[in-house]
Amino acid sequence: MAVITAAVPVAAAGRRRWRNLLGECALLFLAFVVMLVLVYPTAWIFIASFRTPETMFAVGGWVFTLTNYTHLLGSGFARAIFNSLSLCAASVGLSTVIAVSAAYVFSRLRFRGKRSLFAAVMLGQTFPWIILVTPLFILFARLGLLNDYLGMIFVYVSVSIPFSIYLLVGYLEAVPRSLDEAAILDGCSLFQVLWRIVFPIMLPGVVATATYAFLSWSGAT
């Protein structure tokens, strides 16, 4: 009798352990498949960049080559990368400075029309930018900014600012206001409070925002 009562829980526990293990295996397999789907396309293009055109879609026995890269660098692509990066750095830098200042003002100061102004900026996110293409094209043609870096920076900065402000206001709300007040009592001007006190504290948030701006830039053209 005693043997039977003892045996039943053990068997049940054993079965449960098996079922848990099976569940874990299924979950790990699922995770593996999901990760494969997420990574495969990018990995494929990375590998494809080392293939010769003839063996591009061959299943086995493809030929390793660096000619794609030597051609690329030979054709002035290095120049294009440099252009892209400098354009990008200028845009991200400018948009970050504007967004940080604006977010600080929205988060800390009280002024007339603040609510509507914030609403206007946030609604900027929802605005279908594709319909701006035509008017901007005409405007830039008149200003002589077509095919000009300045024009691109201008467009890019204005498109990325609303979302940056939204993110930064969120981060700023987490920075204690007493810090600002202490700094003001110690005689800091508003500008000093922002760039010397608040900015260093919210730097992680700023980096996250800038990263977002950088990534969205890569698809902005």
């Binding site: 609604l123 996110q125 279908p128 594709i130």
Partner: protein, 242 residues
């Protein structure tokens, strides 16, 4: 404006691109977030690698992502058709990007793949801010998995889901790149959406007035969503100052 063509464009934009696209993305993002924070993944210490790999599609620019997927979905050399015919699931390769039945699922797959990381990371961050004691306490009290999901996870994730849903709606609704580069609004004008319609009418047909009218309709629809969005974030982010 009242032409049957425009009805198709509106249907494509609102139902396929935005409603289906955003829903698929949110559900996939939620599923993936639960997977990445699950006990098994944590037990085998796969969280970090999972999160790093998750960033790969995000760091892939849309133009590159679209090119790769177009290859993958190709009828002759595409890996997906290769797999399907190889495993004997289908006899004939499916022309994903040329048949009316498959074009939208294919497009939504591409968009979801490319935009999933941001949604997933937001949900993961939200899940991590949930104290694990809550779930443990509920389990000790005898709550089933479904109840834990219904009464603990979903209420906790609700703000993140709402904000991500609204933002995805704007991004997707206004997006021009995915549809234009994947299908060029084709075959024919089958996958034409409002953003591509604005572009086609203005720069290919030269009808700036019509194009502007479509743009105004787009802006009006988005303004309605924008007002909802504004209410949500004004409550959340600027609670103190308003």
């Amino acid at each position: 404006m009242t032409s049957p063509d425009f009805g198709r464009v509106l249907w494509n934009t609102v139902i396929w691109l935005t409603a289906v696209g955003v829903t698929v993305r949110l559900i996939a993002g939620l599923g993936l977030a639960f997977l990445l924070t699950s006990r098994t993944i944590r037990k085998y210490r796969l969280e970090t690698i999972g999160r790093v790999l998750l960033l790969v599609p995000w760091a892939t620019p849309p133009i590159v992502a679209i090119l790769i997927w177009r290859w993958m979905l190709d009828t002759r050399v595409g890996i997906i058709n290769g797999l399907l015919t190889g495993l004997g699931i289908v006899d004939q390769p499916i022309p994903f990007l040329a048949s009316a039945a498959w074009i939208w699922p294919a497009l939504i797959t591409i968009i979801t793949w490319n935009t999933l990381p941001l949604v997933t990371l937001t949900f993961v961050a939200s899940l991590q801010s949930l104290p694990s004691e809550l779930v443990e306490a509920a389990e000790i009290d005898g709550a089933t998995r479904l109840q834990v999901m219904r009464y603990i996870y979903i209420p906790h994730l609700k703000p993140a889901i709402i904000v991500m849903g609204l933002m995805s709606t704007f991004w997707t609704f206004n997006n021009f790149v995915y549809v234009w580069l994947t299908t060029g609004a084709g075959p024919g004008l089958y996958t034409n959406v409002m953003a591509t319609e604005v572009y086609i009418k203005a720069f290919i047909d030269g009808r700036l007035g019509y194009s502007s009218a479509v743009g105004v309709v787009m802006a009006a629809i988005m303004a309605a969503f924008g007002l909802i969005y504004l209410r949500v974030i004004a409550q959340r982010e600027l609670r103190e100052s308003f």
